[in-house]
Symmetry: C2
């Protein structure tokens, strides 16, 4: 059974705070190991990557087999069943259409002082996408990471996807093809991150690395941050559902379980203004857990980290949700727009009972790479902007410099930066001579 909380209980605040600060990730101490791996890859390049792949993935590679060949990719893709291929194509099309709207506008204007100002966006030149191997090798994640990069106009897009014992997921290769990936390396772990950040004899370094991964990958991304850009350090998945009594408890139960089945440390929270409905959902969850294939994962997640919270009203539900800042938020209420107005922090919001969160994982269009662990307070899901950067533009005319230059000089002097002031003064003096 999950925790049951009620805002009218005397100990609610204490219990809710404990829920908020619950440590779900028991991050192993891998930082020293990762530092060693990165140093090794920087020194020995391909040789280190190949040795580490043999050690961790039991796979023997050479520099020329680090990447999948075009023939291997084609052969694997041919084996993908028709219905899966079509579903993946529909997903790619919808994700592309959504992200195409995120392309930012350039701007250029002349202000009242005659200064011409603006900015210009441009794409990151090369991006690397990490795709975890084994259980969590999800073709949907390939689309969600690669398509924003493609839409941004990234020229070179590579994937690192470990293939333990040489086993590759054909759908991952198809997803890569659908989203314009140039090269797929069958390497993983901290060594893959290091190779993408620093390059090896075979692997050309990239400018930005995105994608989920285990503790080693996360530690490696944190370490190479600065040398390259990274997306975020993702934690275990979360969902918060705000639902009133006019919902099917089984639907809400399945939505909660669709996060719980990801990971034993995933967190699913129901917030409802009707205690009886909350009880009904909890019962529906238990019933589904009897037969769910991944009940050995979803069960512990729900029992250890799940919660059913009863509130006085939906406004209070929104307030609690904002304190959680959930990665995924479902609003299963009659007035979704009214409730939405009260939501300040959430990665992705699903409106109404016909929008299960799983739609967003695959095919809705918005990105499924989202801020976890309350980081929706300050960050956003992956987007086209993550693969672009902005140069600001400024042009002074002589008139503009005359108008605002003296103030720049005054401030430069006040900060004891003489050359700054002189670079303005020399030009002003010329104007005064004319």
């Amino acid at each position: 059974m999950p925790q049951f909380l009620d805002t009218s209980d005397a100990d609610f605040e204490a219990r809710f705070s404990a829920l908020l600060s619950m440590k779900r990730e028991d991050a192993p101490e891998v930082d020293d190991i990762v530092a060693g791996i990165i140093a090794d890859v920087r020194t020995r390049g391909d040789e280190a990557v190949i040795e580490l792949t043999e050690k961790f993935d039991r796979l023997q590679l050479t520099p020329s087999t680090l990447a999948f060949s075009a023939e291997e990719i084609e052969a694997a893709i041919t084996a993908v069943p028709e219905d899966e291929r079509k579903a993946l194509e529909l997903a790619a099309d919808r994700i592309r259409a959504y992200h195409a709207r995120q392309r930012p506008d350039d701007a250029r204007w002349t202000d009242p002082d005659g200064a011409e100002l603006g900015w210009r966006w441009s794409a990151v030149e090369a991006a690397g996408l990490y795709v975890p191997g084994g259980l969590a090798s999800y073709p949907s994640s390939v689309l969600m990471n690669a398509i924003p990069a493609q839409v941004a106009g990234v020229k070179r897009l590579v994937i690192c996807a470990p293939t333990p014992d040489g086993k590759a997921n054909p759908l991952v290769l198809l997803a890569a093809k659908l989203s314009g990936v140039d090269t797929i390396y069958r390497i993983g772990g901290a060594q893959a991150v290091a190779a993408m950040a620093y390059g090896t004899g075979t692997i050309t370094p990239v400018d930005k690395i995105t994608g989920p991964g285990n503790a080693f990958v996360a530690a490696a991304k944190r370490r190479v941050f600065g040398k390259v850009g990274i997306d975020m350090i993702a934690g275990p998945s979360e969902i918060l559902v705000i639902a009133d009594r006019d919902n099917d408890p089984d639907w809400v139960a399945l939505d909660l379980l669709s996060q719980a089945e990801h990971d034993e440390v995933a967190q699913s929270i129901l917030v409802t203004d009707d205690a009886a409905f909350g009880q009904a959902v909890a019962e529906a969850v238990e019933k589904r857990l009897e037969t769910l294939e991944r009940r050995h994962i979803a069960g512990p997640s729900w029992r250890d980290y799940g919660a059913v919270i009863t509130t006085r009203d939906l406004t209070e539900a929104a307030e609690l949700s904002n304190r959680v800042a959930p990665e995924h938020l479902e609003l299963c209420v009659a007035d979704t727009e009214g409730l939405l107005d009260k939501i300040t922090h959430a990665g992705a919001i699903f409106l109404g009972q016909w929008t299960p969160e799983a739609i967003g994982d695959y095919i809705g269009g918005p990105n499924h790479v989202l801020p976890t662990a309350r980081s929706a307070r300050f960050s956003s899901g992956l987007s086209v902007l993550d693969f672009m950067k902005r140069s600001t533009l400024a042009r002074m005319t002589p008139a503009a410099l005359r108008a605002i230059g003296p103030a720049a000089e005054t401030l430069a002097i006040s900060e004891s930066l003489e050359a700054h002031g002189l670079s303005v003064r020399a030009r002003l003096d010329r104007l005064n001579q004319e």
Copy 2:
């Protein structure tokens, strides 16, 4: 003398690569110390912050004097000379006008399948700005960090600014007032970053921390990243000037020196298609260095890290600049727009000889917090977006779910995520019954 390179020299590529990979920052090993300070502040809160401030800043504080009082701020501001106050106000107005244009638009649309999609931006609730003490306590940096946050709609904005021996810069306090800062704490170092990230008895934690700082501050920001958002890990300043012969060598020399005077490890590079002009600029730099107040800083920077590069033409100059991805880029050429089209990576671009980079440091309008150390390849200067985050929105109608739900189910099954598939299937079954 700086390095002189010429693209027609046989060893150019080797020397340019060496210039690119020149290690300018000798980051001291402060990580363990910083980890200890953060742990101490998390455990002992105000007590730890007060002890560390006494130790590092020789300043005795109590919980009630951690922050400047309104009276202290007013008294300090009253002492600011009229011309400095006016210059700072003009800067604040211009920076605000520029950043106001960066406010992003929300979006909402219905796609051909009937799915309602979109996104909504919202402000980070609380932001903390680090302002270094001592020499580098710049009021301009307060404006450049705080105004984007204010424009974004951040509700609570705090500053941590160490005041070694109790000395505060009145202009910093005025800049804070002009940009809507709520509270100014006179603390600094890793302890200030820890206090803003985790909170203490007196200091309420924030969601995002921005601002420059020394190695301790940088290491602390890297460590608290994830718990809160951070802007970037800034390195020493850089400028690259592309100039043809039709420029005043002294103006270009002063622009180069206005970076060099920041830091002994700042880097100033001139790229020109005219070797004689390059020589003339180098001579002008030497002449200015004879009298410049900060010649003990600018001189070593120019000699150790400066470079004058002669290219065959301006296209080649643009290509080299793109490999540098400079923080600041001046285009001092006749056809600035033509050259701009060839630039792919730069933090801030200054167009034409009447636009010294110093204008951008103070008063142009664009932000002066910019990506250093070649990170303009993948990141942008500080902006309003850094203080906002985006929630994606999705609403399925029954018709939309019928259209795209089956594909989501197929993909869920292919990824062995049964509950994901069932959450869609349960709804589709209901629709099929109707």
